[in-house]
Symmetry: C6
Subunit: 191 residues, 6 copies
Amino acid sequence: RREVKNKNSDIGIVRGLAWTAVGGDTLEIEVNTMPGKGELKLTGSMGDVMKESAMIALSYVRSITEKGKYKVDIDFFEKHNIHIHIPEGATPKDGPSAGVTLATGILSAVTGIKVFANLAMTGEITLRGKVLAIGGLKEKLLAAKAAKITKVLVPIDNEKDIEEFDEEILEGMEIVYVKNMLEVLDNSLDI
Amino acid sequence: RREVKNKNSDIGIVRGLAWTAVGGDTLEIEVNTMPGKGELKLTGSMGDVMKESAMIALSYVRSITEKGKYKVDIDFFEKHNIHIHIPEGATPKDGPSAGVTLATGILSAVTGIKVFANLAMTGEITLRGKVLAIGGLKEKLLAAKAAKITKVLVPIDNEKDIEEFDEEILEGMEIVYVKNMLEVLDNSLDI
Amino acid sequence: RREVKNKNSDIGIVRGLAWTAVGGDTLEIEVNTMPGKGELKLTGSMGDVMKESAMIALSYVRSITEKGKYKVDIDFFEKHNIHIHIPEGATPKDGPSAGVTLATGILSAVTGIKVFANLAMTGEITLRGKVLAIGGLKEKLLAAKAAKITKVLVPIDNEKDIEEFDEEILEGMEIVYVKNMLEVLDNSLDI
Amino acid sequence: RREVKNKNSDIGIVRGLAWTAVGGDTLEIEVNTMPGKGELKLTGSMGDVMKESAMIALSYVRSITEKGKYKVDIDFFEKHNIHIHIPEGATPKDGPSAGVTLATGILSAVTGIKVFANLAMTGEITLRGKVLAIGGLKEKLLAAKAAKITKVLVPIDNEKDIEEFDEEILEGMEIVYVKNMLEVLDNSLDI
Amino acid sequence: RREVKNKNSDIGIVRGLAWTAVGGDTLEIEVNTMPGKGELKLTGSMGDVMKESAMIALSYVRSITEKGKYKVDIDFFEKHNIHIHIPEGATPKDGPSAGVTLATGILSAVTGIKVFANLAMTGEITLRGKVLAIGGLKEKLLAAKAAKITKVLVPIDNEKDIEEFDEEILEGMEIVYVKNMLEVLDNSLDI
Amino acid sequence: RREVKNKNSDIGIVRGLAWTAVGGDTLEIEVNTMPGKGELKLTGSMGDVMKESAMIALSYVRSITEKGKYKVDIDFFEKHNIHIHIPEGATPKDGPSAGVTLATGILSAVTGIKVFANLAMTGEITLRGKVLAIGGLKEKLLAAKAAKITKVLVPIDNEKDIEEFDEEILEGMEIVYVKNMLEVLDNSLDI
Ligand SMILES: [Ca+2]
Ligand SMILES: [Ca+2]
Ligand SMILES: [Ca+2]
Ligand SMILES: [Ca+2]
Ligand SMILES: [Ca+2]
Ligand SMILES: [Ca+2]
Ligand SMILES: [Ca+2]
Ligand SMILES: [Ca+2]
Ligand SMILES: [Ca+2]
Ligand SMILES: [Ca+2]
Ligand SMILES: [Ca+2]
Ligand SMILES: [Ca+2]
């Protein structure tokens, strides 16, 4: 069964797009913070590459919250644990393409800024916030459409893939090409 | 041999429903707390997905006990260990469907609020407390009935499954559909 | 070669009963405490289920020593290590049926109360101290008899098994049916 | 798809050269630092030998930042975590030949000195900063050329390999032979 | 090549007896202590059962050094590491029969009392210091003889085995039967 | 490709001899120290037996630096990490015969005393500093000769092996037989 999007913006919840054996799917990434010793807890049957994506996303978020508009208390990360879960718990998930989603979820959770609910995103993230191309885009967009998503953030390096798709696939969905995380955040945070 | 329900409400004990190779079964989840360094100890031959469920349940409980009617001392979780056991110890158990039961047990143990004894429940939990659909419901309900359970909490997304069951299965049991943990707690805690 | 029972009550030593490939056997569980950081050290080639039994036994003992007649200093468990060994070291051991024996041994070691030497016991333990049924009872009782044990504690849920045994097996041994750990302790501690 | 070089010098980013099943490739190593307890976090699907290279690179950098022109605060390394990532996250990477690149990236990140963007490098590093020969040089140089790299640092012990290559391969690229890390740093840091 | 015994009593060095695929052998167990956080370091390619023997030996020694003639400073064990090595490093070793040797070596190292050099020993140890029977005794005694050992400590439960051996095997060696560690220490420590 | 010896004495660098599938080889062991919490970091694709050798070497060095001519500050080892690397990083290495080399390198690194550069050594080390015989000596000596080594330290128990070699093998190299680490240090440290 497919989930439909949440009705309202929320803190620490971001919609990602996955490519599975049975087609595309949407993944609602959840991020929560709590007092602790700086541990990163990852649940949802994540594979090693996805766990590394979460570590990269966290390091990136730490680097951009040192100062500037997303500034967070200097010792927040050392005095809190961050728990990231991706339902459904029994479904194995892997790959680097949830990177931007994980980073957006963490930033939202640690700043308290809401994420737009009508939005989904996909893209590998690097430590410096560059967004890298991903695979399975057609299936992911079909899943986004089925979930009534109206705006999808896609890595700029995937632009040429989309140009080859049927127009119908994109109908009713705005595609925004992003080349780095700051663009992802500009498009997804409800400031 | 099947257990029958406890006679009285108790703290930190909740009846879950499991679906095994030999049919449905009831699982009496036990939660205990003790002074410690914030460790989560899990026993009862739990598999990886069930262990992750317990981590999710604990994070959820921490998030709703920060304030409000289930408020717990701010450093309780950092100064106590939580031990969750599911008898029988030699029987391997896995899957996400004990999520709501684990969360209810933890909340009861950390607040000291009793859980009704005539009650069983099943459902995957997310980090935000959403209750997701589970499988094997018919077998689980038969097991609940055999254990003299009179009220069962079921994920709202499983409602359509139940509509297809024989009426006899449900006879003498009240089914309550739940969509999130707050509804689970409203129905299970003896406040 | 079979061991015979100790002559005198002792602290931290309890006789359990095991069911092995070559028949029943008695296991002399040893528990020692020493200053430390709250670690539980387990030796004697224990399998995973038996190690979890020891964790359950320890949590149970901690819960009943918070106050009441078995009261122990509040920070004893955080400032001591507990070492449980089951000879013989090279023989692999597993299963949940040493639960009551482990709990009795721990309670004896942390309170300094002696355990009767003429006694053996078997039973799975839950976190709340309920005693659950175990298997291989006939072989276990034969081993107890061979070791000159005169009193055996057996889970109440195994009563129906014993009713089917030859009378000879039980000759000279008192069988005490127990449904929870408090009954086990009432029968085994030399207060 | 192949990346082209960054346009500007940057802190904590260094271009390495890899030799894969499908030919040479460039690897953009990213290093970030953040307050922490001295942990080294490694992501990018690195194999064991590459992880050890990162440990060696870090120890080397610590030894040369104790004093002299790259001096770093005495307790910087104990009060910060260092995260090294090599995109793309799903591609397994291994071998010792990223040693010099890892060390340069770490030194840049901890000192804040930029690394030239037109530069790539390859070479195993030892704990004392000696640069050892590597394999697959021809494929690596072809990849550097394709990425518009204009200067490549190569271990001096590989000089004889290069003398056997076609001149075309090297056209437009300056090759600098290095025998230790100090020479690598002299050529790569934008002081 | 076989080692011959040391000429003089020494601290922290005890001769054990092993039974290998190619016959009996002597093992010179070495124990050293150094300031630390209470860790037990084990080297010499020890198997799991032998590592557990070392843990048992250490717990036993801690219990008998709390007071009495072997008394050791109350926090010695928490402020020192204990390193036990059994040469030769590349030879895998396992089994519980080095228990008494390990305990004697640890006691010698922590008290500074020398162990007689003309002595070898074999026997499993329990947490309470009981000495249990071991196997391969004939081969072990032949190895002891070849190493010019003049006195061997043997578990009392192995007495019946020795009665069946040729007298020649024992010629020139005193056999002392021991039933617990205190007897082992009485015979081996050079007080 | 074979390395030739360093030109000058150095701190924390010692030449060992290895016996590989393709003949003998020299191994330049590097040891570095840095402020830390007493961790031992081992790189260079070391196998388990070689890692244990490093632990033994470190414990030995700690024991002889408590006082006497190699005295080191009492809490040096608890306030520093020690990193040992053996190039080349991708070549798996194992066995106990680098023991004396590891110990010499550690002692040099922690005392700041240089090691002679014209020297190589081989030998297993025990916790008390005894030097045990090793294998593959002929191949090792050939490798030492090829690397222009002029003095080789060899375990005294290997003397009989050398007596059987062709004189040519030893030509131009001084062989020093050692029976313990103090002799190794007397011959290798540039005091
Ligand atoms: Ca789904
Ligand atoms: Ca929170
Ligand atoms: Ca059951
Ligand atoms: Ca409690
Ligand atoms: Ca037995
Ligand atoms: Ca004690
Ligand atoms: Ca690439
Ligand atoms: Ca930073
Ligand atoms: Ca030997
Ligand atoms: Ca010492
Ligand atoms: Ca070499
Ligand atoms: Ca240093």
